[in-house]
């Protein structure tokens, strides 16, 4: 089985988010970049599936040369090979279009992404890829099992879940529950240096959206501390002052 895992290069989850140039640019100064945590779940499941059934796991990233440490990390975790589309990822449409072009020339049995990226919180690429490739897609899956040429997936719905069977190939966005992220071992780290990483040039794609500025959440006022022996006071304030109960 040939599996493609799409990975994004995102700021580490502990990053304090700040902006420069009058709040129009994300300040990457001193920011550590990592594999998007959900993409790591997708990668872990892809590796598990090929361990059982044989096959390969290719990771693809749309990014400039600076993302290569993240791609090498994916190779160290256990991906077979990697592709980098050499371009700044402008928006989800751009990224999905680049990956779709690659997949048209190099078909896969299964394409996985993370459920969303933790930087711009899009959960768009999986479904866009599905549409661009005319394949079924499931935006957020909690479980994924493959048997022969079809898969069983579990997807979350508000207040429950759905269980679906889908013939391969299809596209899905992995969430927690699909797999536990894998930590690379020393052998993986050593072999990652020599695994193939192809760099391809982007195709031309229309610009569909542009970020024109950023805002940070309004700071909250001083906390109103209520004595531990009088929770009734809290209930009263939530009712009369905050008016939320």
């Amino acid at each position: 089985m040939k599996i493609l895992v799409c990975i994004s290069n995102v700021p580490d989850t502990t990053t304090k988010i700040t902006f420069t140039d009058n709040n129009t640019q994300f300040n990457t100064n001193g920011v550590q970049f990592i594999i998007n945590p959900y993409d790591e779940i997708a990668l872990a499941r892809a590796i598990e599936l090929t361990e059982g059934n044989g096959g390969t796991v290719t990771v693809i990233n749309v990014g400039e040369a600076g993302t290569e440490p993240t791609i090498r990390k994916a190779l160290a975790i256990g991906a077979t090979d990697a592709v980098r589309v050499n371009a700044q990822p402008q928006d989800a449409w751009f990224v999905a279009s680049q990956i779709a072009e690659y997949v048209k020339a190099n078909p896969f049995d299964l394409i996985l992404t993370g459920r969303e990226s933790i930087d711009y919180n899009g959960s768009k690429v999986a479904a866009m890829l599905g549409e661009l490739l005319d394949l079924p897609s499931v935006a957020i899956i909690k479980k994924l099992n493959v048997e022969g040429d079809s898969a069983t997936v579990e997807r979350e719905i508000e207040g429950g879940k759905e269980i679906l069977t889908i013939p391969l190939p299809f596209v899905a966005g992995a969430a927690e529950g699909v797999a536990e992220p894998k930590i690379p071992n020393m052998r993986g780290i050593m072999s990652a240096r020599t695994k193939p990483l192809a760099v391809i040039e982007p195709v031309s794609v229309q610009v569909t959206s542009t970020i024109v500025g950023y805002e940070t959440p309004a700071p909250r006022g001083q906390v109103n501390l209520i004595p531990a022996d009088n929770p009734g006071k809290l209930i009263e304030l939530l009712h009369t002052e905050a008016r939320v109960i």
Partner: protein, 325 residues
């Protein structure tokens, strides 16, 4: 050219998040001096459909077709895109629900439309532009995103736009579309509903607990508190990682982002990743025995105390409050 809103139903009923999305789409229609058409797919009663008028829909397209009874991502996306074309709608609004997240990108590609998912504000149309605020960096910031194509798709974050009732009744029309076989490859086997619980993404009140609870056996009081408040239960990442609670309850940067009216955090220290997922809550209450816990810095109300002493007292206080009210 009307605005089109996809009104997703859950077991034949519309939820508050859909009334929010219809109200939001109404406001966009007003910005553009146009009408609002809603589309519903599946089995929904005519009364329920017409009631969408209350929130601003002028017309409701009803797609009732045996093959489309349950959600099929590809087929639903095709129907919504067809309706947009037929109505000549250049703006399509959806709720950024679990299903909405699967639909919006496909609809956008079909319509050659720019897409904003996770919208939290009305479009700013100053100077002929179309700029929408959306969540970014998992609640640590907002990105002001401009859509530059003629067609636009917006998926609205639940609990961020107020329901507005205008009081009218919508006209309901049957809408039939040709479905294509290749849209039905994914087969629904089973729907499992946890009916006894408030769903976390929809919840107006969330009661969340962390490692301070010491073990899964101590969640009884959390569930009791949540039940009394009509709240959903949630937890921090270490708690779901340890298997004390299901992953679907994990709130934070790598879990679910929530924006309830009231978020009550019990025994959670307030790591930056957790705070990211809850920062758009309207009111935050923190109960923690450590006065230095970072969570108190973003809280509106706090109680410094042991959860095992404070929560039972809080439960009693709510019972009393309810008895009086």
């Amino acid at each position: 050219m009307p605005v089109l809103i996809y009104a997703e139903n859950a077991e034949g009923k519309f939820k508050k998040s859909i009334f929010e999305a219809v109200s939001y789409a109404r406001a966009i229609a007003d910005q553009n001096n146009t009408s609002l058409t809603a589309i519903s797919i599946g089995d929904v009663s005519t009364d329920e459909l017409a009631a969408l008028g209350k929130y601003g829909a002028d017309k409701v397209l009803n797609v009732s077709n045996d093959k489309l009874k349950n959600f099929v991502n590809q087929a639903y996306a095709s129907v919504i895109a067809e309706a947009a074309k037929k109505e000549g709608a250049s703006i399509v609004v959806l709720s950024n629900s679990f299903s909405g997240r699967g639909l919006a990108p496909r609809v956008a590609v079909k319509l050659d439309a720019g897409l904003i998912d996770g919208a939290v504000s009305l479009p700013d149309t100053t100077g002929g532009k179309f700029v929408v605020k959306k969540t970014a960096f998992s609640g640590k910031a907002f990105a002001l995103t401009e859509l530059t194509l003629a067609n636009k798709v917006i998926a609205l974050t639940p609990n961020t736009y107020k329901v507005v009732e205008t009081g009218a009744t919508a006209q309901v029309e049957d809408f039939s579309v040709e479905t294509k076989e290749s849209d039905f490859k994914a087969l629904l086997k089973e729907i499992v509903r946890s009916t006894d619980k408030v769903s976390l993404p929809d919840a107006e009140i969330v009661v969340s607990a962390g490692r301070g609870l010491k073990g899964p056996e101590n969640w009884g009081m959390i569930e009791e508190l949540a039940a009394l408040l009509g709240a959903a239960t949630a937890c921090s990442k270490p708690v779901s990682d340890a298997g004390w609670r299901p992953h679907s309850e994990h709130v934070g940067q790598t879990g679910i982002a929530v924006s309830p009216n009231l978020y009550i955090a019990i025994g959670i220290s307030g790591a930056i990743q957790h705070l990211a997922g809850i920062s758009s809550s309207k009111v935050i209450v923190v109960i923690n025995k450590d006065v230095e816990a970072p969570f108190f810095k973003v809280a509106d109300y706090g109680i410094v105390g042991d959860a095992f002493e404070v929560v039972p007292k809080l439960i009693e206080a709510i019972k009393q409050h309810k008895a009086v009210a």
